[in-house]
Amino acid sequence: MKKIFKAHPLMIFGFLKPTLIILFLPVIKGVVQYFTERNFEGVIGFFIFVLCAILSIAVLRWRSYTLICNERDRVVTIKYGILFKRVAKIDIARLSSVQTTQNPIDYLCRAVTFKINTEAGVHNRTDFEFKLSLKNSKEVSVLLYGKGEPKAVKYSVLKVAILAATTSSAFTGMLVAVPLINRAGNLLGIGLSEMLLNEINSLSGRIETYFPPVVNTVSLIVLGAYFVSFVYSFFKYINFKLFLEKDKLEVRSGLIVRTRTSFRKSAINNIKVEQTLLMQLLRRYALKVSVGGYGDAKSESEVIIPLGANKEIKDKLTKYFPFFVPDEKGIRPARNYLTQSRYLFLPAIYFLVAIALSIWLVVFFEDLTRFILFLTFIACSLVLGYAYMGLFQYKHSKLSFGDNIFARSNKGFRTYELYCPKENIGEIRIIRFLPDMWYKTCRVRVLVRSERADNIRVRHLDYQSVKAQIYKCFNIE
């Protein structure tokens, strides 16, 4: 049985948006004509003609979108295009995820933006995106994933706030804020970024610290960017709910723009348990799943448990995804003084270099002493963080090969655990430097076979044990 769904008329406005600039052509014509001939003759007619043309194209494009669900053969067909016609057929089992977002305008019109994602297509771009009425979107979801009785798991605002605070960064804040400020400045026709910078400069001049004003300015920018990132993350994850079914997961979040993402458990490539530096202080973890072709969200990770203690995360992992739990005893770095020193060797070198460099700079640039001191403080903090992560690796890093592969290590200043079935492993790299050959150890990088290619590196493991486990796991003679 086939069911045919047409796109929601709100899509016309979506198509009109980028073409509205063409409407300025008659306005420009009118202005030029007024100055040269002192009349507006023909301008209104031209305006109406252009408006009708872009409106007709938008309507035709909207009408061309058709979604056909074939229940019997489990195939979805998507048709679109006026002159350049496209027909795509996707086996439902091959869908990675289906995402619906609803902004306030969608909400008023009872519509949603419906995004269909697969592992094919362009990276970081949704494969198929169109507007559907709310009723149709629910019907399509039932046709794609069946009608189950989901068990809802809610997470409190406090947990979401802590997740936002612990995962936010000044860098993300800048990525969000800079284009926004530029666009707002262009729209208002004022130099908004210059105004903001001047304001920050004057504010930093009023703060009296040991460090020079430039340090205060930079600190204020970083703090501001972090705050923007926090607000962005908070509104992204607020109202976080997880709906669990036997084979399907649905994640809902957002307050102003509501997002709903559905995917089969079988579409999950790997699971990650992450802990940022701030989370380490609170002894909390976040559980994420990596789904192939996860659209334009700039990543294919979906948060499943925003924040939880180690035991809670492990319990839920076993409960929700028992087929990801490792079944083999892992390999750890040798517990001795030599291995520990190998983890701390590079941080020690970096620390000495930072101190030596700062002394040299102070001697040669006496006027910049306070600024150099600030830079040294930052450099030393980073090196100490690096040393701490080295110690974490020494104490906790682990790698196990079985039907499911498990690895624990760090990525930058985050602790990181990767769970992945052996079928999803794309590549295992064993790297041995001269000291590794001397001490009969190796570093192993495990890469997941997915669009995102999640990977993890575990250092200073016994070479023979790693080789034996890999050969056993993949039946290599």
Binding site: I68, N70, L83, K89, A120, G292, G293, S450
Partner: protein
């Protein structure tokens, strides 16, 4: 195992495309040769290349184009100076998509794109019915009565 080749009308379609593109480029060169005299030479070179591609290269290319449907994979062999062979196992196929331009629609042909994670194989324009058959057999849908 099934073997497929491209229809003759695909060759004609591509010859028309190449001739049209060559004509546009040659006309543009002639139009602006007063600004840059070297454009006269460019027009001649483009014209010769266009004719050679349309008359010699395309017929050889399309004659050598081969689509093989094996039990486990689809294999596409093509190339004139350099031979290419694309092998896509059916298990890696995510979805199939047909694509037709207004000119291709007039000729009753459509191109097919087979998409896998991080890769795709494009089959140049084939008859609409053949495209329908290929897509249906790859995606597992039968009795597909919708019009393309």
């Amino acid at each position: 195992m099934e073997r497929g080749a491209l229809p003759k009308r695909t060759l004609v379609l591509w010859q028309i495309r190449v001739v049209m593109l060559t004509l546009i480029l040659v006309l543009l060169c002639i139009r602006y040769n007063s600004v840059l005299p070297v454009l006269n030479v460019a027009a001649a070179v483009i014209g010769v290349i266009g004719v050679l591609v349309a008359v010699l290269y395309l017929p050889i290319f399309f004659k050598g184009y081969e689509i093989l449907f094996k039990n486990e994979a689809i294999i596409i062999n093509y190339g004139v100076f350099i031979k290419f062979s694309h092998i896509m196992p059916y298990t890696r196929l995510i979805y199939a998509q047909s694509f037709s331009t207004p000119l291709a629609s007039i000729f009753g042909v459509t191109a097919v794109s087979l998409k896998a994670a991080r890769s795709r194989v494009i089959i140049p324009e084939i008859k609409i019915l053949d495209a329908k058959y290929i897509i249906d057999s790859l995606t597992g849908e039968v009795d597909y009565e919708e019009d393309f």
